[in-house]
């Protein structure tokens, strides 16, 4: 089919890599992004990208990387795809190297690698402490070349609202809205790849960017795409607490020797630098001698919570601990961690080279996401594929640092290839589908927009968003109690009701930010309830999902993917078996 097109939703690392692969294979691409793709949230990633290239003479291997990943994920992943990702990683790094990513180098001019959480090997390639930025820019530049050659059409400033499905339940395109003009339009395509990233905005206190709402995933879920392991939410141990955003302080800071501690004396008023070593509680090092400060994120976050809330040792009685690099050489800090330290200095006003940083855990990533099959990144709806953080495949119950950049690029490659193969197998393409199908979906979305634009009431979308964030952060992050989860779900249901009475102060069609935000907010509330109900369902503790009422991992009952379907406004969960045939589950204990 000469007119065959593939649509990409999202222009972060996963979306751009899929775009490159599709364009390379000769299919035209329409790439949709709410922001100019170079401003996608991938740009915020700091620490690095994993690959077992074993350039440090340590005897590292892709099998070891695979084992670390599965162990880190508390055995919730289907293992085949994870192994293939780890096997592909060295080749991916090489490709990024060829594209000109300014990775840090050794004296021999080869890529440098550092240590990261949940592993004992130096397998994280990095570009200063802004690796996501350099990776994103490299892929952005590659796509620009395809754009110049007429192979890719970029639709920046367009937001996905729904998939266009024909009467056989096959996806034939998308419906999107122009954020500037409010024009609702349908776009035909033979395959759609969703790469819409994370959902931190649902928690508000998050390291994510403003655009990370999960709205697209939620919309697809409401159209019948299954969602898996929604409850698996990663809370990163070290972020600068903030009202508008919790700014990430990369795990690489600990990878280069940063140490987490609190003063042993509660409310110690001395300048931290003058507190002697024996009066400091380096709790991660004491509790976890083998991995020390580089235990995986869920372990580190729970440890910080314990020190602050159970032992009452937060600095000045507040919910903060120290992340200290003052003992490390200044030159090395600038060369390997400059970007991160710059963020701390700009937003807190103190130089981390001289003052231990004050940090606290913040929501950061979702391991759960759209369900996809094990081979093709294909969702359960024909024609819809997913790649990147928005799918659930690679990280199980907890993601290792520096594996996300890898899974985004790997997943993007697989999805791009699979989508093109799928289009070749179609009997007829989107252009053969009746225009009534497209018009119908376009009209439906226009009506939703019109209703939102003109509805009346006393509610404000920002207020509802703040209340949602507060509830989610309080009840659905680090420590989960069933009563708290039930209360959270009830609160979210109340917010959904109040949502019907939002009055937008701005009813204009041109450049109306609050209108589009409100559209997304409706989807965010659905996804928030899904995460909460998924957490309520899973009565065990595994990886990042921790319930004091069920403190142990329960493989007998819960070694399953919790897979949700949307039916008539309700969530229907099923438990799928997990393929652990390559590495049998063993107890997850980073103390030894």
């Amino acid at each position: 089919m000469s007119q065959s097109r593939v649509i990409l939703i999202g222009g972060g690392l996963a979306g751009l890599m899929a775009t490159i692969r599709v364009a390379e294979m000769g299919r035209a691409v329409d790439l949709f992004s709410v922001v100019p793709v170079r401003r996608s949230h991938s740009v915020c990633a700091q620490g690095g990208i994993n690959a077992a290239k074993d350039l440090k003479g340590e005897g590292d291997s892709t099998w070891q990387h695979f084992d670390d990943t599965v162990y880190g994920g508390d055995f919730l992943q289907n293992q085949g795809p994870v192994k293939r990702m780890c096997d592909a990683a060295p080749g991916i790094i090489d490709l990024l190297d060829r594209m000109g990513v300014t990775f840090n180098r050794t004296a021999e001019g080869l890529l440098d690698f550092r240590r990261f959480g949940g592993t004992l090997f130096n397998r994280t390639a990095f570009a200063g402490a802004t690796t996501g930025q350099q990776l994103l820019y490299a892929l952005d530049e590659q796509v620009r070349l395809f754009e110049a050659e007429g192979k890719v059409r970029k639709l920046e400033g367009w937001m996905f609202v729904s998939a266009v499905m024909d009467e056989t339940g096959t996806c034939r395109g998308v419906c999107a809205v122009n954020l500037r003009t409010c024009q609702v339009k349908t776009f035909p395509a033979d395959a759609v790849i969703v790469a819409t990233g994370g959902l931190g905005s649902i928690f508000r206190q998050s390291t994510n960017s403003v655009a990370c709402t999960g709205s697209a995933q939620s919309a697809l879920f409401q159209q019948g795409v299954h969602y898996a392991n929604a409850e698996m939410i990663q809370v990163h141990p070290t972020a600068i607490p903030g009202e508008d955003k919790c700014r990430l302080i990369s795990e690489s800071v600990r990878g280069e020797g940063g140490r987490v501690w609190v003063p042993k004396t509660v409310g110690d008023k001395r300048d931290p630098r003058s507190i002697p070593e024996n009066e400091r509680f380096y709790f991660l090092e004491e509790w976890y001698p083998k991995y020390g400060n580089l235990v995986p994120r869920d372990v580190a976050t729970r440890a910080i919570h314990k020190v602050v809330f159970e032992e009452g040792l937060g600095i000045d009685g507040k919910a903060v601990v120290f992340l200290d690099v003052t003992h490390l050489p200044r030159e090395m800090l600038t060369r390997k961690l400059g970007g991160v330290l710059e963020i701390y200095e700009k937003f807190v006003g103190l130089d981390p080279r001289d003052h231990p940083m004050k940090v606290f855990p913040a929501q950061h990533y979702t391991m759960g996401g759209l369900w996809i099959d094990n081979e093709k990144q294909a969702t359960n709806l024909p024609g819809i594929f997913a790649a990147g953080e928005c799918e659930y495949q690679y990280h199980g119950a907890n993601r290792l640092g520096a594996n996300s950049l890898l899974s985004c690029i790997y997943g993007g490659m697989i999805a791009g290839q699979a989508a093109v193969q799928y289009t070749k197998g179609l009997e007829s393409g989107a252009e053969a589908v009746s225009s009534a199908v497209f018009e119908g979906e376009g009209k439906r979305q226009e009506e939703i927009y019109e209703r939102l634009r003109t509805q009346e009431g006393p509610e404000n979308p920002i207020t509802i968003w703040k209340e949602m964030g507060e509830t989610m952060t309080q009840h659905v992050t680090v420590i989960r109690y069933n009563k708290g989860l039930e209360a959270a779900d009830a609160k979210l249901a109340e917010l959904q009701d109040r949502y019907q009475r939002i009055n937008l102060a701005d009813t204009d069609r041109w450049g109306n930010q609050s209108l589009h935000f409100t559209r997304e907010l409706g989807n965010m509330l659905v996804l928030a309830r899904l995460i909460t109900q998924g957490a309520l369902l899973r009565d065990e503790s595994r990886g990042a999902h921790y319930k004091p009422e069920f403190p142990e991992r329960d493989d007998e009952n819960w070694l399953h993917t919790s897979r949700a379907a949307y039916e008539n406004g309700k969530f229907k969960f099923q438990l799928d078996p997990v393929d652990t045939s390559l590495i049998p589950p063993r107890k997850r204990n980073y103390k030894s």
Binding site: R98, L110, A127, D506
Partner: protein, 250 residues
């Protein structure tokens, strides 16, 4: 009392490119560590001016809120900068917000910066790879060269350097320092270097390096401290060399 402290914000409002502009003032509740974005979110929650008039939330671009995506560039108290890193406690009041003037206005504080990305295409700012199939690692690069290249690669395409440049205006097609810096970056890379000639040819074209008059405002406005004047001069040197004697070496 600190709890009652108010912040005064003055914003230039304009509903669209062909609409009249007006100023609006807002009185907001101070909180510790606020930045300009937090002020705009407060206004979105309570869109009422200081004099009690109902108005609309302010339109603006923002994403990362930590000065790495480049989205939130605007003119704050007369200075072109990112809004996320403009901390309220460091700003004189009333805090005055205006959109960038060198880019077409969309609405309020949101402008259209797509011409920067268009010029990246024109100046061929990429390292071409033969394909995504596996053919081994890239070329070796010394740590010293990497340090220089890495620093240049941190450009967030915010547009502040274009905003302050006297040669970026309605009568000129000058691409601006950010684009010239990218040309320098790609010419530095061993594979990129293979295609330096086509980049330098483009940069001698319309709006290219010859339009830089060394006003040196750009380097002062760059939030990432990129040595833009160095890059401008370096690209100028390369472009001249390529024009005069480049043919000998090709």
């Amino acid at each position: 009392m600190a709890e009652d402290k108010k912040i005064l914000v003055r914003i230039k409002r304009q509903a669209g490119p062909d609409q009249p502009s007006r100023w609006e003032e807002f009185s907001l509740q101070w909180r510790p560590h606020m930045n300009v974005i937090a002020c705009l979110i407060d206004i979105a929650e309570t869109p009422v001016t200081r004099s009690g008039q109902k108005t609309t939330p302010v339109s603006y671009e923002a994403n990362c809120l930590e000065e790495v995506c480049g989205a939130c560039a605007m003119v704050i108290n007369g200075r072109s900068r990112q809004a996320c890193s403009a901390l309220v406690d460091q700003l004189e009041q009333p805090i005055q917000l205006e959109p960038l003037s060198k880019f077409p206005l969309v609405r309020d504080l949101a402008v259209d910066r797509s011409k920067m990305f268009y010029n990246l295409k024109r100046m061929r700012c990429w390292v071409p790879v033969d394909g995504t199939y596996a053919i081994g690692p890239g070329p070796r690069i010394s740590p010293e060269r990497q340090q220089v290249a890495y620093w240049l690669s941190r450009c967030i395409m915010c547009g502040n350097c274009l905003e302050v440049c006297p040669k970026v205006n309605e009568n000129s097609d000058f691409v601006g320092a950010a684009i010239l810096n990218q040309v320098r970056l790609f010419n530095m890379h061993p594979t990129g270097q293979l295609h330096a000639h086509e980049r330098l040819q483009a940069v001698r074209g319309i709006g290219g390096v010859q339009d830089c008059d060394n006003a040196q405002n750009c380097v002062k406005a760059c939030p990432k401290n990129i040595p833009l004047t160095e890059s401008n001069n370096d690209v100028n040197r390369q472009a001249i060399r390529d024009a005069l004697i480049g043919w000998i070496f090709r």
